[in-house]
Amino acid sequence: MTVRNFKVWRGDGSGGQLNDYQVEVNEGEVVLDIIHRLQATQEPDLACRWNCKAGKCGSCSMEINGMPRLSCMTRMSTFEEDETVTVTPLRTFPVIRDLVTDVSFNYEKARETPAFAPPAGVAPGEYRMKQVDVERSQEFRKCIECYLCQNTCHVVRDHEENKKAFAGPRFFIRAAELDMHPLDAKTDRKEYAQSAMGLGFCNITKCCTEVCPEHIKITDNAIIPMKERVVDRRYDPLVWLGRKIMRRDELEQEAVAVTTLHAGEPTPQPDGAAPINWHREIPAPQAAVAEGDKLPLNEVLSDRTGASSPFGDEIEFPVDPATLNYYHPDRD
């Protein structure tokens, strides 16, 4: 047992501050255990959400040292013993109290996403599907709705104004899931994602995939395929011709040069090959944990509007596409 230092954000919609606490930490505990001990011994009214304490319900999302995480899955042993652990509420959603935020945004978006459309004329009990076919959708159905991806996505993280038009990665995988459902009767899932869910806002930074506790490949397996096939469908013969007749070496040079975040026109590419290696490793960005003894947390304390980004304050959005593992073929 050791006594360790914590900073926990306390307050509500009208403001708050990081409080210092010394709390006992036992071997094998996770951050949520510490929050519970804090409730039981020092702050009985400290608000936080949790249910299963096993990484299954997605209730206990918070930001720990600036990283969006499930607190029941964040082991204390991942921190140095003399390290101060800072716990703050999710940044993207309005604070209700302490570590509890108002996540109703997500429920509204869930409600707007068109539901499964059962195939006509197939009676219950008569559904037949192959395991390989359901597996693609099953990956997305693993989602525990922790909303860490929603919290992380820069499109809404510090841009309240985008919330109206942007459903967010959680609901892109819902659209993809239904799109890939072997028996779903609706055929315009991708187009809907593009036109009504704001898929076009996404510029494949992969931050959402990075934080997903269920390791769902949100970008690679849902967003990118949906974007690609949206492009496929709005098929442009000239571009196609361009792809066919240009020499590969010309293409690569040209493409790197003209690729901008939102290119005016889809850039031609040789047979599906991108001008950028999508699969190369990019170093995981790090958040600035503490400045002095304070985490720049809200408007009052910080030198900028908004919290420090979980991906480091050096990163500026929009990200230069040349540094991304994705090549953006189209913009809307």
Partner: protein, 628 residues
């Protein structure tokens, strides 16, 4: 005067787990204005934790399976104490309820010919559990959640408002049911977020609040499981049955805290894991009961040979039935040979090469590695009995799910899911809960809707009752120097874990009742600091009285039932007794708050159901007179 938000609904469903959501869907499909109330966010209820699957005799994997086989298995599992009609309905209707989920968009794992795959599970004769990897509960709840969304989308089209006919009140806790005479008139509670009060005026209420595990020290259950539904029902005049039957798993993790309560599957023992006490002794050899002597090895050498040569050697004693293993662990710990956390060691690391463990127990390995940084290929696990499921619950009419009272029914009150009792008898088979939720959730919704049609006028709520509910809810906040709810909760868990745990004795049960009595007085003086907005201390203070009331029912029934059966093990009455099979123990509370326990004969079996069993098998459970 408090400002209370008021809503009018036809059917109010308390609980957003599998049972609650299924009930709400049915009520809405019947055209009723329906509210769903849940203590946590929508989609987080305990049902998400279920892993194994949902039992339904679809016969996809083995075509010999049918409802009669499922019925037999269920009755055997519950040691013939189950309400036979519920077990019958469950076995007959489960397949339809599962297939229906596919039309809502569920994606179960498939067989080769594209049907829903079914897996084997303890107690089920054929592969029967529809599943999705090890996250079946999540699939179930998400599917129902999405079905509700789709109904809301229909309503939006028809009425311009998503919430025209079905609305979810998340993070809202019901603290009291309100009556008009012996009829339900509404439900009262608070929004966790704001601490403001809310009143639902409704002629029909469906309870689907889940279980009671949070009264125990080591449990696989979440904070929501404080027995609210059980207590609400009692206070509304309904009765509970069989509260002595709780399912404990013998090997749940007790240490480290990050995995406390998580279950360690039996296959760890089947694959060579052994149990050791803190002296390092493999103690199970000392606990082989006489009746099992012939089948179990006497020396470690023989036991170890069994894994490779089961035909010529007897089984290792680690593979004794669950209750024997639990009893052995319990005895070692009570004799002071347990670990500091109150468990024993389950060691597979020193017995099998790391590569083999990884191959045979991949998800166990990952779960412990990720959650607790415990490497089960290198170190032993610390395990002990874990409270998992409550078989007892609200006594209901099997067909309609209407809650019964001492004199008849509580008009307008329905219960389904873990909060209801009877279906599982003295022990639940794995996988039978998820199907139970669907079958009886649907029935509860359907009959609640029908009940509202039968009414001539809406029942009215008395102002005095409302004022009393407000006062009770605010009391802890007004008691500045009151006792800390977390301390009281901890003590309650201690009492229940130590004295009303997996193995029970008369003396200990009597002591538990005395201790619960003291706690009851202290809980009446519990205090909460802070304000009303999202204040977990206050919420716990309010949950405590429910936990205490339900714990009292459990302790009393456990003391009364002088036999061992399923989830109730008395060390002083180790055998099953056929005369006790004929009895349900029924708890109710008087106006004064005293718990009353009575014996009630179980319903008489229909002959055609009895005929499903061999006479020789029935002879093991029924008395001579019944057989004659």
């Amino acid at each position: 005067m408090e400002n209370i938000e008021k809503h009018e609904y036809d059917v109010v469903v308390i609980g957003a787990g599998g049972a609650g959501l299924r009930a709400a869907i049915e009520a809405r499909l019947a055209g009723k204005r329906t509210a769903i109330i849940s203590k946590s966010l929508f989609g987080k209820a305990h049902t998400v934790m279920a892993e194994g699957g949902a039992a339904a005799a679809m016969g996809n994997v083995n075509s010999n399976d049918n409802w009669m086989v499922h019925f037999r298995d269920t009755m055997r599992g519950g040691k013939f104490l189950n309400n036979f009609r519920m077990a019958e309905l469950h076995a007959k209707e489960a397949p339809d309820r599962i297939w229906e989920l596919e039309t809502y968009g569920a994606l179960f794992d498939r067989t080769k010919d594209g049907k829903i795959s079914q897996r084997n599970f303890g107690g089920h004769e054929y592969p029967r559990l529809a599943h999705v990897g090890d996250r079946t509960g999540l699939e179930l709840i998400r599917t129902l959640q999405q079905k509700i969304v789709s109904l809301q989308q229909e309503d939006k089209k028809a009425h311009g408002d998503y919430e025209a006919r079905i609305k979810v009140f998340a993070e809202t806790t019901i603290t009291e049911l309100l009556l008009d005479g012996d009829r339900i008139a509404g439900a009262f509670g608070y929004y966790r977020e704001s601490g403001n009060f809310v009143l639902f005026q409704a002629p029909a209420v469906v309870l689907a609040t889940g279980g009671v595990g949070k009264s125990y020290k080591v449990t696989s259950n979440s904070w929501e499981y404080t027995g609210d539904g059980h207590a609400l029902a009692l206070r509304a005049g309904a009765t509970l049955i069989n509260m002595e039957f709780l399912q404990f798993h013998p090997t749940g993790m007790v240490w480290p805290p990050s995995v406390k309560g998580i279950l360690v599957t039996e296959s760890v023992r089947g694959d060579g894991g052994i149990l050791k006490n803190s002296d390092g002794k493999r103690f199970m050899f000392d606990y082989v009961p006489d009746v099992f002597r012939k089948q179990y090895a006497e020396t470690p050498e023989e036991a170890d040979r069994w894994y490779t040569d089961p035909d010529n050697n007897r089984r290792p004693p680690e593979l004794l039935p669950r209750d024997e293993v639990a009893r052995a662990i319990n005895s070692e710990v009570k004799a002071g040979r347990g670990t500091k956390a109150g468990g024993v060691y389950l060691d597979i690391a020193s017995r099998r090469p790391a590569a083999e463990i990884l191959k045979r127990l991949p998800s166990m390995y990952h779960q412990f590695k990720e959650l607790a940084d415990v490497d089960i290929t290198k170190q032993p696990m610390e395990v002990g009995p874990t409270c998992h499921y409550v078989m007892g619950g609200v006594e209901v009419d099997p067909d309609t799910a209407a809650a019964l009272s001492v004199t008849g029914t509580v008009q307008g009150l329905f219960a389904a899911g873990e909060v209801s009792g009877g279906m599982h008898g003295s022990n639940r088979l794995g996988g039978n809960s998820l199907s139970d939720l669907l079958v009886f959730g649907k029935r509860a919704g359907e009959y609640a809707a029908a009940y509202t049609d039968s009414l001539e006028k809406r029942p009215a709520i008395a102002n005095a009752d409302l004022d009393a509910a407000v006062e009770t809810a605010l009391a802890p906040l007004n008691r500045a120097g009151g006792e800390n709810p977390y301390t009281l909760h901890h003590e309650l868990q201690q009492v229940m874990g130590d004295l009303v745990g997996i193995i029970r004795r008369k003396g200990e049960l009597e002591e538990s009742l005395a201790r619960l009595g003291e706690l009851k007085e202290r809980v009446a003086k519990v205090g909460a600091t802070g304000g009303r907005r999202y204040n977990p201390g206050w919420h716990l203070a309010l949950d405590l009285r429910n936990m205490l009331l339900v714990s009292e029912c459990t302790a009393m029934a456990a003391l009364e039932r002088e036999e061992s059966r399923g989830g109730h093990t008395r060390e002083d009455f180790p055998k099953m007794d056929a005369t006790w099979r004929k009895v349900n123990l029924v708890s109710s509370v008087a106006k004064t708050g005293e718990v009353d326990l009575t014996h009630k004969p179980i319903p008489v079996w229909r002959q055609d159901l009895l005929d499903l069993f061999e006479r020789s098998e029935l002879a093991k459970y029924l008395t001579e007179d019944e057989l004659a």
